[in-house]
């Protein structure tokens, strides 16, 4: 890029705007985490200062861990997210492979059919989904959530993965065929390893809405046994409206796992977004 477009004031201006917005984006998160480590007096007396030895207090965390069954909720969330993710990736990749690799009657129609779900949210079918789950006895089971999230994640997964699978070299697959590999082996042994980076992208896209969803846990699995972290935090926050230490600690506990995962995977996620799958 030539130097003609660059000048010092412009660069400073760009940094000023970006820094301001970064501050706006991070401020509430930092504020909550910071204050969760303070005593009640510290929270109200000086909300904007970091905890000092005088105001440092873990009372919020002890309350949360004593009262709410957060570790159990956390496990539920983990089971639901990991299982749905597994099925979305496996089924999604298989369907994407069929759609991108073979020509058959109704190929593009099938692609369109599967893409419908990208635009039409599954939430609108809730009334009938609940009836279905009641009829099959799956209400208040994690299986119900896994099924729903698998269906929810599939359309986007198929769409993105088939874009990537088209890029896998034909010569490689044909070489495999000449060597007598079955279509299944070609898929699992040749193609899947090659599209692994895009699988990671899809995984991140699928995971965030599942982990954060409140609607389906609230409707399909509100029992104590099957509560997810998001629902558990929601109910806990509702009960402890006046216990600020506990609320701030609960919020921080809910933020931190996601934040840590994000910091680890952010490069993957951002590369995924900017790599053109959704250009």
């Amino acid at each position: 890029m030539s130097t003609a477009t660059r000048s010092l004031p412009r660069t400073i201006g760009a940094h000023a705007i970006l820094l301001t917005y970064t501050a706006i984006a991070l401020f509430p998160v930092i504020l909550v985490i910071m204050n969760s480590f303070k005593s009640r007096a510290g929270i109200f007396g000086a909300p904007l200062t970091p905890p000092t030895p005088k105001t440092f207090d873990l009372i919020g965390y002890t309350t949360v861990i004593g009262q709410g069954d957060f570790i159990h909720y956390f496990q539920n969330s983990l089971v639901v997210t990991v299982a749905s993710l597994f099925f979305v990736l496996l089924f999604g990749a298989m369907a994407a492979f069929a759609l991108s690799e073979y020509r058959f009657r109704g190929n593009s129609l099938m692609g369109l059919y599967l893409a419908l779900g990208i635009m039409i949210p599954i939430r609108l079918g809730t009334v009938a989904i609940l009836q279905l789950m009641v009829a099959s006895g799956l209400v208040n089971t994690l299986t119900a959530l896994i099924l729903v999230y698998t269906a929810q994640g599939l359309p986007l997964a198929v769409f993105i993965l088939s874009e990537f699978m088209k890029q896998v070299s034909d010569d490689l697959k044909n070489a495999g065929r000449i060597d007598g590999l079955s279509e299944y082996t070609i898929f699992f042994r040749l193609v899947l390893p090659l599209v692994r980076p895009s699988m990671a992208t899809v995984a991140v896209f699928t995971m965030i809405p599942i982990w954060n969803d409140l609607w389906f846990p609230l409707i399909l699995a509100p029992s104590e046994e099957t509560k997810t972290v998001t629902l558990g935090a929601q109910l806990f926050l509702g009960q402890f409206v006046t216990n600020w230490n506990a609320i701030l600690a609960a919020l921080s506990l809910a933020i931190m796992p996601v934040l840590i995962l994000y910091v680890i995977f952010s490069r993957q996620l951002i590369r995924g977004i900017t790599s053109g799958a959704v250009k």
Binding site: A14, L26, P47, A98, Q131, L214, I270
Partner: protein, 340 residues
């Protein structure tokens, strides 16, 4: 054996050749045309590859959606589902118990959407434009930081902002005091005239990362040659953005608009977390999602009514479908995608 010599889609291979303009139609016709197969045994593996995804998707998503649409035409009379045609919709639009709430929710939802379009998307485009300026330092840091709110759940976002805006804690009034605007502070979430706008802005705060990222990706994919040509012609800086880059990223702006539309008319969690199912104060933040939840599950003294819930879901379905159709047939076909 080799099933076909692939006439690869233009979308992939075209990336190496310059300035090929294509749109969905050309890609579609090619797919259809290449689909004539000679007699051969049924290829079971295709069915097996497709089956799990199609089955789960159909059973959990498509059939319930269809079932919901169908339920909206029935009513529970003495423990029996009776077909009543469009009666539920007549109740929804005609019976003041329902229609007042419905129109209120719809109006609020439209306002919710307008704020997103007017605030979220311009800010997103601006941030992306700044981020994509060449040799900007710390770009990766800014990108990562600004995207943080998007990965948080509504429960966290709603509650954290509720605390910050609460007059009890006093963070917001204290900060406004620092810039000398304390007199402007009111408990926004508690006042009918401000609550919805405040919540929309919170939602904007959360989701600004998505338009930013998508536009950023689109800006990065503009080839150097185009920018260089513009510079040779003396178009730089702001006018370069407006005259060269903006037209090239219009398709991405279209995608963002439709994503915002679908997301907004389907929103529920943030309002439910911050204001509860009653969407207070006095229903002033009620949107279609919360209205559906109340109708379906009931609240306080009102008993839940799955059929009316289905009728509201059907209306949401029609609204979203309408928006998607407008996008596909009016916007998408007019915007050409430039593939370099």
């Amino acid at each position: 054996m080799p099933h076909r010599a692939r006439t690869s889609g233009p979308c992939i291979e075209a990336s190496s050749s310059n300035n090929i303009v294509w749109n969905r139609e050309t890609a579609g016709t090619e797919l259809m045309a290449a689909d004539i197969s000679p007699k051969r045994p049924f290829r079971w593996h295709i069915a097996i590859f497709l089956a799990p995804a199609v089955l789960v998707y159909t059973a959990i998503m498509i059939l319930p959606l269809a079932g919901t649409l169908q339920l909206s035409l029935f009513r529970n009379i003495e423990q029996h589902q009776v077909f009543v045609g469009l009666d539920n919709f007549r109740t929804l639009f005609g019976d003041p118990n329902w229609s007042v709430n419905f129109w209120n929710a719809l109006r609020n939802n439209v306002w919710f959407f307008i704020i997103h379009m007017l605030v979220q998307n311009p800010i997103g485009v601006m941030l992306a434009a700044l981020l994509s300026s060449p040799r900007l330092r710390f770009a990766a840091f800014y990108r990562t930081a600004i995207f943080v709110p998007t990965i948080l759940s509504f429960v966290i976002v709603g509650f954290a902002w509720k605390l910050i805006l609460s007059p009890l804690w006093g963070v917001a009034p204290h900060m406004m005091d620092l810039i000398g605007l304390k007199s402007l502070f009111t408990p926004w979430l508690g006042k009918e005239q401000y609550a919805l706008t405040a919540l929309s802005l919170i939602s904007v705060w959360q989701f600004v990362g998505i338009p930013m990222m998508l536009i950023y990706a689109a800006l990065l994919s503009i080839p150097e040659e185009v920018i260089e040509a513009a510079e040779c012609d003396g178009i730089t800086g702001m006018s370069q953005f407006w005259k060269i880059k903006l037209p090239l990223i219009l398709p991405s702006i279209g995608i963002i608009s439709i994503l915002t539309f679908v997301g907004n008319f389907n929103a529920f969690d943030l309002i439910y977390t911050a204001q509860g199912a009653l969407a207070g104060p006095n229903y002033s933040t009620d949107i279609l999602g919360t209205f559906l939840y109340r109708a379906f599950f009931g609240f306080q003294l009102q008993v839940g009514d799955p059929n009316m819930g289905a009728a509201i879901a059907t209306m949401m379905f029609l609204i979203i479908l309408g928006g998607v159709c407008v996008y596909l047939f009016l916007v998408q076909t007019r915007l050409r995608r430039y593939q370099f």
